[in-house]
Every structure is written in structure tokens, then in C-alpha cells.
């Protein structure tokens, strides 16, 4: 395939030791809407205890990658493993922060009730949210500096505050591996700092965090590991190794026109 020649295949990277399976293992993952592929043949082996950025141009399939890993969009093919076992058996270990715009902020709930949603798996089916769970949710709000706004309806919060309570909801999930879809989109500078502090704390606690990100200038500062995506994995590995001008060009530059045309041709053919 045309794309393979430009790919830094992460099979070349150091393989995970058998005793500690990688946090995320993806093999041959392909996702297609209709017959048009949006993610091609993704292979990843990401070690644990790090903050990994996922970057790439618009339409590169960054959100789709997260959703495919979490089984929210159907795969055309491929295997996804979390800590060495299929995702379906590891759901408990996984936390998810969707894009802020993906929900209706006019929904009649308070910040505290939103954060408590992160505990629903622990609470279990058909059981109400108890005072103990509300206390835990309040602790989550404290961790993101939002405890004083616990009773505020979510539409009355600023974009940065909304992102913080999304993060608090993920924190109370107490997951080992997190997938965050653009947590920095439309937030103020102080919220961005607060989020970064939280990501680093999660890493220190031995957790693994994946973050869809747009701002290339902060890549060095924020991430240990980088996945450069443009429908395929252009490069994946420690930031220092893969965040190179050449890879950036392959990810964002015009080198993919041939591939784009091939994809368009497939799309045409399916009509």
C-alpha cells in the first residue's frame, strides 16, 4: 500500500516485555463509514504510565481512533487490547472524556450530578446515587477546583468550567487508562494549566492517558508519547523520537495526496 512507505512502523519500536503487556495494543484496526475508510490499518503498542498525545489534521481520524478503541464505532477489522486483554473484558479500567460539544449543556442537571455519572458503574444498575457517592463526586469537583459550583446547573458554567467537570467525572471513574477527546478545546489558560497538572498527576499514579490535541506548540511540554495520525499512523513513539519535521510533513503535508485520491476513488466506486 502507498502509505506503508512513509510510515514509521511501530513494530520497529521496542516491544513490550511479556510480563507487562502494553497499556494499549492495536493491530490492523480499520474503520470505515460506508465503504470509505477513515482509519486504515492502525497498529499501536503504547506502554503504560505516560501521557500520550494524538495529533493530526482535521479529518485525520483522531476522535474515530478513540471511539473505535472504545467500541463506540464499529470496526471493519482489527484487534484492540487494553493491558493485554480484549477491551470488552477491560471496560472497568477505561475512562472516557468525550468532546465537550458532544453533549447538550442545557440538560437539567447540576455540576455535581454530572460528576456523579462517573460513578454509575460502581453504583450498579437500578440503584440510586447515594450520599456517599455524592461526597465522592464532590471530592472530584474539589480536585479540579470546582467544589463551590457543585450545585450550579451545567449551562451556567463557562466552557473551561464545563471541561473541568468533564475531567472531574473521569477522575471519579478511577480508571487505569483514560481517553480524552480534545480536553483543551476552547478552555482558558488557567483551565489548561489545571488540566495539565491533573494529567501529570494521573501519570505519576501510574495511569496512562491518551489526549486528542491540536496545538503542536505544546506537544513537547505536555506529552511523553505521541501518535501522529492521518488516517494511518504516520508515527508513534516517544515525543523526542517521532516529533520530527519529516513526520510533521507526512502528517500534515501534501505527501498524502496520492492516498487521498485513492480513498476518493474507493468512495466513488461505492456510490
Amino acid at each position: 500500500m502507498e502509505g506503508q512507505t512513509t510510515s514509521v512502523n511501530n513494530r520497529d519500536l521496542e516491544p513490550a516485555t511479556p510480563s507487562a503487556p502494553p497499556a494499549l495494543h492495536v493491530r490492523d484496526l480499520t474503520v470505515a463509514y460506508h465503504r470509505k475508510p477513515v482509519l486504515w490499518d492502525v497498529d499501536l503498542d503504547v506502554p503504560r504510565s505516560l501521557v500520550a498525545g494524538i495529533v493530526g489534521p482535521n479529518g485525520a481520524g483522531k476522535s474515530t481512533l478513540i471511539k473505535a478503541v472504545l467500541d463506540l464505532v464499529p470496526h471493519a477489522s482489527g484487534v484492540v487490547e487494553i493491558f493485554g486483554k480484549p477491551y470488552r473484558r477491560q471496560r472497568r479500567m477505561v475512562g472516557y472524556v468525550p468532546q465537550r460539544e458532544s453533549v447538550d449543556w442545557d440538560y437539567p442537571i447540576t455540576a455535581l450530578e454530572l460528576v456523579a455519572m462517573g460513578l454509575y458503574r460502581k453504583i450498579g444498575w437500578c440503584r440510586p446515587v447515594s450520599a456517599r457517592h455524592r461526597r465522592r463526586a464532590l471530592e472530584g469537583l474539589e480536585e479540579v477546583g470546582m467544589a463551590d459550583l457543585a450545585q450550579r446547573q451545567i449551562s451556567r458554567l463557562s466552557g473551561g468550567q464545563q471541561q473541568r467537570i468533564f475531567l472531574a467525572r473521569a477522575l471519579v471513574q478511577d480508571a487505569d487508562i483514560y481517553f480524552m477527546d480534545e480536553p483543551f478545546a476552547g478552555v482558558d489558560a488557567s483551565t489548561e494549566k489545571a488540566i495539565i497538572a491533573i494529567l501529570q498527576r494521573l501519570r505519576e499514579q501510574g495511569r496512562t492517558v491518551f489526549v486528542v490535541h491540536h496545538d503542536l506548540e505544546t506537544v513537547h511540554e505536555y506529552f511523553d508519547y505521541l501518535i501522529m495520525l492521518n488516517m494511518r499512523v504516520v508515527a508513534a513513539g516517544p515525543v523526542a523520537e517521532v516529533f520530527t519535521p519529516q513526520n510533521l510533513k507526512w502528517t500534515y503535508g501534501g505527501r498524502l495526496t496520492l492516498l487521498d485520491r485513492a480513498v476518493d476513488a474507493i468512495g466513488q466506486g461505492s456510490r
Binding site: 471511539k67 472504545l70 467500541d71 463506540l72 471496560r91 477505561v94 475512562g95 472516557y96 468525550p98 458532544s102 453533549v103 447538550d104 442545557d106 440538560y107 437539567p108 442537571i109 447540576t110 450530578e113 454530572l114 455519572m117 454509575y120 458503574r121 453504583i123 444498575w125 437500578c126 440503584r127 440510586p128 446515587v129 446547573q153 467525572r169 471513574q173
Partner: protein, 438 residues
């Protein structure tokens, strides 16, 4: 107006139908799928019609299951047509439910020759006929429609109570729900099934067209009035109950005033619901048009009065203007005036400032009173502190400072003012060297 035992049954049937619909409809409103309720309520028609034809009866389990199944199938079809037909959601619903509805109408036209069923009852309901079909339950003779709706309401209440938090999460954030093991697609079809069942149950009372009012209007009204899910559901149901009572009263009470016979109760119920929505739309405490307009007018007034005070404060600093007074035309022509274009703002602002005793008029010239000077100094102080802020910390050019500060000075509340004062303690001048008062 004569109220009989029949009227009690009619109101009860309307109330039960309204409450059942409001409960599931509230979640459709939250899920932004209101029109799915419309689609399903129409799509169940062929199911109902087929059951009529096959069994010759209006109420039995077969009809319920058949109609509900068709309703759920239609929800699946809408999704399939949208996905594979390259249509947006609305068009996809339009295709599916109109076709199914048309099939249902044709079937009912056929069926009407054999069984006691009228297309107009299908469309608008016939709550007035509810008390005529009785069943015997535990020795009590009660209308069949009332019994069916009571069971439906209990089912809806039970599902919403038991799955309260699951429904809340699945309707708010389907993605997270699914990763937490609450399958949002399954919850979606549960909601669609309840909608289909409720639509069939309420069919006799409100018909297939007005049922959409029962499903959506209570939730839409409650959305304007409440901020949390439980009050939202409670208000939705309360509105539906009230509409049943007032609707029937209006239907039998109001037309005789004008010399007409009483009118359709289901129509009157839907109209009352519409009125409730209108009232909430206009008068809701925070979201209502009146409250918004009032707040906006208040903000505009405070901006124009602060602008006028600011100009008078600057005039008082002008050595060429010893008494610091301005004529009405000065207000429009002095430098930095926001009143350059003709408009009512200045007139209103000056009238208000005079009424508050902040501005006095002498020989058609306006000047600050003692109290006015204090207020005006505060306006100027905030403005110049903002200029200081933008110059020192924002790197804004001198020429841009005024407009930048002007944007913020009107929105500076006491907290912000204090923060600003603390930041610039001891700072006596703005970037141009003008004194910061206070």
C-alpha cells in the same frame, strides 16, 4: 355546564394519557428526538389497523404488541434510511412515518366497513367515547381506556423510577453511557418502545396527531422552568394533569358562552398545553422572553447612564470648563462621546440620572450633583484602571486603550472591581498620565 360521572371518567382518561405521554416525552425532549415521537405515533397506525382487521376489537394484547412492534421497527427504519439513504434525520423520519401512516389509513378505510372505527377518531381521538366501553376489574366497572392508561402510566413510572440514573446518563451522554456498560443504543430502543406503547395506549384519548402535543409540550414547557431532572419530570407531569382538567372544563364550559355545543376535549387539552408553553415562554423567571428583555433593558440602561456619568466626570477635569457642565449637544460632540449618533439613549440616561438625583440641570446645561460626583468618579476610576491593566499587562497600544477599557467597564461587578483595585494599589495615573480618581 353539566358535570356528570361521565365527565369524571373523561378527565381521568385525559389525565392518565397526558401523564404517561409527558413522562416518556420529557426524555424525547432531552434527547432532542421530539419528532421521533411524532414519527412513531404515526407509524403505529398500520399496526393498530391490522389488529382491528384481524381481531375486530379495539383493545387487546395483540394490538398492543403489534402496534408497539411496528413503532420500534419504524425507529429502526428511520435510523437505517438515514444511514444508508444519505438523508438527514428529519427527511428520513419524513419518508418512514408518512409511508407507514398512509398504509395505516388505507387499512383503516378498509376496516371501517367491517368494524366500528372512524378515521377521524384515529386522527383526533375520541375521549368522549371512553366511558362507554366498560370492563370489569375486581368487580368494578371501569372504562377500558382508563384501565389501559392506568397500566401504561404505572409501567412508565416504574421504568423511569428504576432506570432513573441510566436514562439520565444515556440521554445526556450516550458515549460515556456505553463505555460504562449502559448500552445507549439499547436505552434508545427502550425509550422508543415505551413511546410506541404509550402512543397506542393514549390513542383512543388523543388520536395519532394530538398525541405529539401530549408527548412534547409538557417537556418543552418544563425545560424552560426547571434546572434539574426530577423537578423537570415532575413539572412535565403536573402540566399534563392540569391540562386534562382545564382542557375538559374549557371544552364543555367555554363554547356554550358563545352559543355553541361543547367541543373536542382532546383538542382543548392540546390547546391548554400550548397556552402553558406560551406562558412559560414569555414569563419563565430566567429563560422567559420578558425576563430576558428586562435584563437586557437593565444592562442597556446601566451602560448609557455610566457613559453619561463618565463624560460629565471628564468634563469636570477640563480646566476650560470651570463648572464641569455639558449641554445636550456637548454630550454628542465631546471627544470620546459614545452618543455621537442620534438616539434615545442619551435622553433616557439623562432623565434617569436626574430622577436618581445624580445630575442637575441649570440653564439647559447638565452637571453632576454631590452624589453624582461620587458615582461618576467610580465610573472613571474603573475605566482608567482597565486602561492601566491593558497597557501594563496586555501590551495594548495607547490608541486602542479607550475602546478596550470601554468594553469591560460596564461589566465590572464589585468582585472584579476589588481585584482590579488590589492589583493597582498605589497606582495614581492611567497610561496617559491622567489621574485615577478615588
Amino acid at each position: 355546564m353539566i358535570w356528570t360521572a361521565l365527565d369524571n371518567w373523561i378527565v381521568l382518561a385525559g389525565a392518565l394519557a397526558g401523564a404517561s405521554c409527558a413522562l416518556v416525552g420529557a426524555f424525547l425532549v432531552l434527547r432532542k428526538m421530539s419528532m421521533m415521537g411524532d414519527a412513531i405515533s404515526h407509524a403505529v397506525l398500520p399496526g393498530i389497523a391490522l389488529a382491528f382487521i384481524l381481531t375486530g376489537s379495539r383493545a387487546n394484547a395483540v394490538m398492543f404488541i403489534g402496534a408497539a412492534a411496528v413503532g420500534v421497527v419504524s425507529a429502526v427504519l428511520v435510523e437505517a434510511v438515514r444511514r444508508y439513504g444519505k438523508l438527514e434525520h428529519g427527511a428520513s423520519m419524513g419518508v418512514v412515518f408518512t409511508v407507514l401512516f398512509a398504509v395505516g389509513l388505507i387499512l383503516i378505510e378498509r376496516a371501517a366497513r367491517h368494524v366500528d372505527i372512524y378515521p377521524e377518531h384515529v386522527l383526533y381521538g375520541a375521549v368522549e367515547l371512553v366511558p362507554l366501553h366498560l370492563v370489569s376489574i375486581a368487580g368494578l366497572e371501569i372504562p377500558r381506556g382508563v384501565a389501559v392508561l392506568a397500566v401504561m402510566l404505572i409501567i412508565n413510572l416504574a421504568v423511569v423510577t428504576v432506570l432513573f440514573k441510566e436514562l439520565r446518563l444515556a440521554t445526556f451522554d450516550p458515549g460515556l453511557a456505553t463505555t460504562l456498560g449502559i448500552n445507549a443504543t439499547a436505552m434508545h430502543y427502550l425509550l422508543m418502545t415505551l413511546t410506541a406503547l404509550t402512543t397506542v395506549a393514549a390513542f383512543e384519548v388523543v388520536g395519532s396527531i394530538l398525541v405529539i402535543a401530549m408527548l412534547i409540550v409538557p417537556g418543552a414547557t418544563a425545560h424552560l422552568l426547571t434546572r434539574r431532572l426530577l423537578p423537570f419530570l415532575a413539572v412535565s407531569v403536573a402540566i399534563a394533569l392540569l391540562a386534562a382538567v382545564l382542557g375538559h372544563l374549557a371544552a364543555i364550559g367555554i363554547p356554550p358562552w358563545f352559543g355553541f355545543e361543547d367541543t373536542s376535549t382532546s383538542g382543548a387539552m392540546a390547546t391548554v398545553l400550548g397556552l402553558f408553553f406560551l406562558i412559560a415562554f414569555l414569563a419563565a423567571p430566567e429563560e422567559g422572553v420578558i425576563a430576558r428583555g428586562w435584563n437586557l433593558a437593565g444592562l442597556r440602561l446601566s451602560i448609557v447612564t455610566q457613559d453619561a456619568l463618565g463624560l460629565l466626570a471628564r468634563a469636570a477635569e477640563d480646566p476650560a470648563n470651570p463648572d464641569g457642565s455639558l449641554s445636550a449637544s456637548d454630550f454628542r460632540s465631546v471627544s470620546l462621546s459614545p452618543f455621537r449618533s442620534a438616539g434615545a439613549g442619551l435622553v433616557v440616561a439623562l432623565a434617569l440620572l436626574r430622577a436618581r438625583g445624580l445630575v442637575a440641570v441649570d440653564k439647559r446645561r447638565f452637571r453632576l450633583t454631590q452624589r453624582g460626583q461620587t458615582a461618576a468618579r467610580e465610573v472613571l476610576r474603573v475605566h482608567r484602571l482597565w486602561e492601566r491593566f491593558f497597557y501594563d499587562e496586555g501590551g495594548v497600544e495607547l490608541g486602542e486603550l479607550h475602546s478596550a477599557a470601554d468594553l469591560l467597564e460596564h461589566y465590572t461587578d464589585s468582585d472584579l472591581r476589588k481585584a482590579l483595585s488590589d492589583r493597582f494599589t498605589g497606582q495614581r495615573t492611567d497610561p496617559r498620565g491622567k489621574r485615577i480618581p478615588g
